[in-house]
Symmetry: D2
Subunit: 336 residues, 4 copies
Amino acid sequence: MTLRIGVIGTGAIGRDHMRRINQTLSGAKVTAVSDVNIESVRTARADLAPEAEVVGSGEELAASAGVDAVVVTSWGATHEQYVLAAIAAGKPVFCEKPLSTTAAGAGRIVEAETAFGRRLVQVGFMRRYDAGYRMLKAVVENEIGRPLMVHAAHRNPSVPEQYITPMAIQDTLIHEIDVLRWLLDDDYVSAQVISPRRTRHAHARVEDPQIVLLETKSGIRIDVEIFVNCRYGYDIQCQVVGEEGLASLPDPMAVVMRKDAKLQSAIMTDWKDRFIDSYDLELQDFIKAAARGTASGPTAWDGYVAAVSSDACVEAQSQPGSIVPISLPARPALYN
Amino acid sequence: MTLRIGVIGTGAIGRDHMRRINQTLSGAKVTAVSDVNIESVRTARADLAPEAEVVGSGEELAASAGVDAVVVTSWGATHEQYVLAAIAAGKPVFCEKPLSTTAAGAGRIVEAETAFGRRLVQVGFMRRYDAGYRMLKAVVENEIGRPLMVHAAHRNPSVPEQYITPMAIQDTLIHEIDVLRWLLDDDYVSAQVISPRRTRHAHARVEDPQIVLLETKSGIRIDVEIFVNCRYGYDIQCQVVGEEGLASLPDPMAVVMRKDAKLQSAIMTDWKDRFIDSYDLELQDFIKAAARGTASGPTAWDGYVAAVSSDACVEAQSQPGSIVPISLPARPALYN
Amino acid sequence: MTLRIGVIGTGAIGRDHMRRINQTLSGAKVTAVSDVNIESVRTARADLAPEAEVVGSGEELAASAGVDAVVVTSWGATHEQYVLAAIAAGKPVFCEKPLSTTAAGAGRIVEAETAFGRRLVQVGFMRRYDAGYRMLKAVVENEIGRPLMVHAAHRNPSVPEQYITPMAIQDTLIHEIDVLRWLLDDDYVSAQVISPRRTRHAHARVEDPQIVLLETKSGIRIDVEIFVNCRYGYDIQCQVVGEEGLASLPDPMAVVMRKDAKLQSAIMTDWKDRFIDSYDLELQDFIKAAARGTASGPTAWDGYVAAVSSDACVEAQSQPGSIVPISLPARPALYN
Amino acid sequence: MTLRIGVIGTGAIGRDHMRRINQTLSGAKVTAVSDVNIESVRTARADLAPEAEVVGSGEELAASAGVDAVVVTSWGATHEQYVLAAIAAGKPVFCEKPLSTTAAGAGRIVEAETAFGRRLVQVGFMRRYDAGYRMLKAVVENEIGRPLMVHAAHRNPSVPEQYITPMAIQDTLIHEIDVLRWLLDDDYVSAQVISPRRTRHAHARVEDPQIVLLETKSGIRIDVEIFVNCRYGYDIQCQVVGEEGLASLPDPMAVVMRKDAKLQSAIMTDWKDRFIDSYDLELQDFIKAAARGTASGPTAWDGYVAAVSSDACVEAQSQPGSIVPISLPARPALYN
């Protein structure tokens, strides 16, 4: 009854999920691996899944009789083809963000899954599995009345030279785009981007900080500060203002010290630590659903909506002061 | 050496300042009072300053030989005339907000004071005297690098029927307009107003909540949430994001309790309690400066700039999505 | 390579560990179960481990060829005999608290394990696996200098009629007795118990609250408030005062709300929620060590020391104002 | 109607109260000053009260026709004689701590005031005027049920060489001795002192830290940590555990920063800043009561009880492990 998982892409995140499946989680093992880099796949297999078969291509892996479910952790540009291959094989597939590098590509996946007629795809939006966001969602739904506004912030200590302005949306805001839709159970109708005074710590090719203003169908207004060279830490803030009260995402647990004339507690600096428990939970959830031949958690539709919304925000980045509409087709019944 | 103060306007706030001068502060006494309502002025005198002379009009009071300095706490529409009368008499004058109900009126006061050639006017923007804002200003100037953004909120539990949409600017945001200029040592160049989903607790003639976006000369971006039917309390929030870190206005001191399955501390509900110490400090500061024949604290120019900025925000309220410029004449040398 | 675990005792905690092993953790499965109550063992097997064998007695289970490691979750009075049976079979054994109901019994287990010559026993002191205590230990060891004092509290909302005064030590303080030894890497030399004014919420047979004062070999002074009818929540507090600063155990993560004139966050009321993650971690740690034929985490010696210290505290309860010495034999080399 | 105050003792604290009376508070002025050091009194007069008369002795000052009320801020050993002189003159007197350096001396003041038949004496226990303690008292009386325990701490960054072990009681704990009686409306019946491991930062003649255990008439148990070389700051903590919940003294207001991977806020390091507002309030309260010919706030009886309790704690310091009884005569009716 152990779920046999094939992993496509054995880079850092692929290896991480292999370790998770074989050493931490329950109910699955890695039985096949594939990567365009043959060195990488051999090392990963040797280190983490010595019993797994090395398969020549992602498509072959998806089709393999020795594989019940697929994990796609390859280079982003190849996600679409491997997810489509898994759907063609009728197998549950967990795909890391982004589902596709284009909204059109994500749309093709939605079409394929809809045509297949049963959910097979889970997208790796791990924040939905974070204990803090789950606590916040419970409070938003039960204690503070209808949500009216959200004030959020996504801050990194610094980013490398290759991180350029649109990545503030595509790599950074993308998490808020998904998790706020889920938190509010709502969709976006427009986006505006504001550019405050630049920090001296930003390199030349990135506008930093930025503020993204989003409006939802029900009129909720969201402001998200994106500040990827904030210096002081990796810090995710989210406050929901409702008709009856406010609720804030809890900060990660930390020891409070009194030392050096300061009441102080540590703020994380490495994003990898912030949602570390969520990776375990999302993949365990995938394993459980895949064992029943289906998928759970964030859907292909969520991946598609994130792509469309992200595109609008990137457009808004290049049009200071203007409000860019976000429009979506009707949601297929499969996702209701 | 006791400063002889004449008070024009003996309503609630006038009485409050009379009590302050005669019973709490050092170095002054109320020697003259005036009000268009003769009942009011007699009662106030009897209760709080039995030795004071009742004077027939504010202009007479300002000119009286028994008055060294003037406090204007009359109806807003009369502020301009009484402040001008005090300037004409060459006497220091403390004027409650607003300095004038129009930017033009405030401009006339600036002209009169400039012509007189010495500072005489202090405007009652008391937040500049609040211990929390003073702590915040010290941190902003010394610890977090150049300011890039400000996230602020001004929340009231509820407002009465006569509170209509423009008052969210003129009566509520006006405090942030002044205190943020002072905090950042900067001026505004534009305003935009956003209307989120309405709370069901707002009556028909007020848009609530609203978000005001301000840009400063140096490019700092400010968002202020105004939410005057927030239900839960009177709550003033202000967070400054700098190049090296963030700093937040402290919440008022409160006992932390553990009770009824909650870690809890009280939030104020009456705005009058929030800055109560500041009223003492601003008026003591006025007394000290007035004893030297001049004024301290917020200037007539600050009152004028607040009026101009407020007008732009009111204009922005009626033009959804548009960015309204804020332009100011050169600052007279008297105010540098 | 899957570790085959036999579970002795299929009550609530036994079932919980069975579920954990078969559905959540990695590397083990339940292959045998035993309980004096035949109904209980059949139901537990059917619900949670249908492939497991039902074995007639705990001793048989420990000796069974189909069992690699043993989990003892039977009634406390039987722990000693089953742990000794596992040691006799040379098999790793995880034993829930208490290791034995008497210090003498725990001493016999230490002797048996010492004679065997390799660690086989892990005691279920789960707090050592709690993320908060681990963070605190790291700070205590690295940031606040030598510890001088500890202020701690262990509070329950209420206790049932059968909870009597000595249980405040044996069932409640026992957790602090173990975790503070581990946190400070020290042993106790004396205990004193203080009885404050009784709460009106305590039933007749329990003194509540109580304060236990402990002294360690290095002179650290510990005060632990035990308050088992505190009404407001299940609340565990621990503050270590060091030569260079103070460090406090973090409160569990909670959403901060602003509502009803209160800044508030929820406090847990059910003790089972407080250390829920620790149960997974301690048992996963056991599985990893047991797969190598040994044990990790809290030792039989820790269980013995806890029993001796607990006995001294119970004695101190009955001697108001007196200081009861705590003396231990030399620590066997196996536990260094 | 201005109260004419004579100040005996023009050292640092005397000068501070002179400044307060003449420049900050309302309703009084300094009309006479006296000090054994003629340089000191001349300088203080010149700096702070140029219109005051220099009087040859404290006794003369108390008797002077130009003085309505007396402030005693001389060297502690002379407090008793000057307070008695003021009582003899039938004048209200504010006396800095201690009321007398011996319980017997404080007792003589109680006798004199009782014989006079009206309250004249206010002792300078300023914490009763602190906004935080006042908030705490309101919560203790109204929200958490009957108090059962108090956990308190009094920490200084460091102390000079002349600070020796008994001063931990006489100069440091004395504040908790008074304020906790007031907070709980109770008296002490016994004291015990515990000596934890010494900090390496303590010089040779002071035991540091110490823990004082107090029991009250109603059975409330109090533990106060005194740690006068704690390094990190001047920090006053007080937590009251009641039958229905807990309440903690608020920390002083401080800006919360996010910087350098830390959520942080400043802790004071100078004790003079901690209760700075209380000095104004206690003296204003004295002025108001003295204008009516009597005294308010902490009484001579409070000063006497503090002295008796302090003596018992000093005795307990020298008797490790023993519980020293604290017994008081009946409270004179004047103080009910």
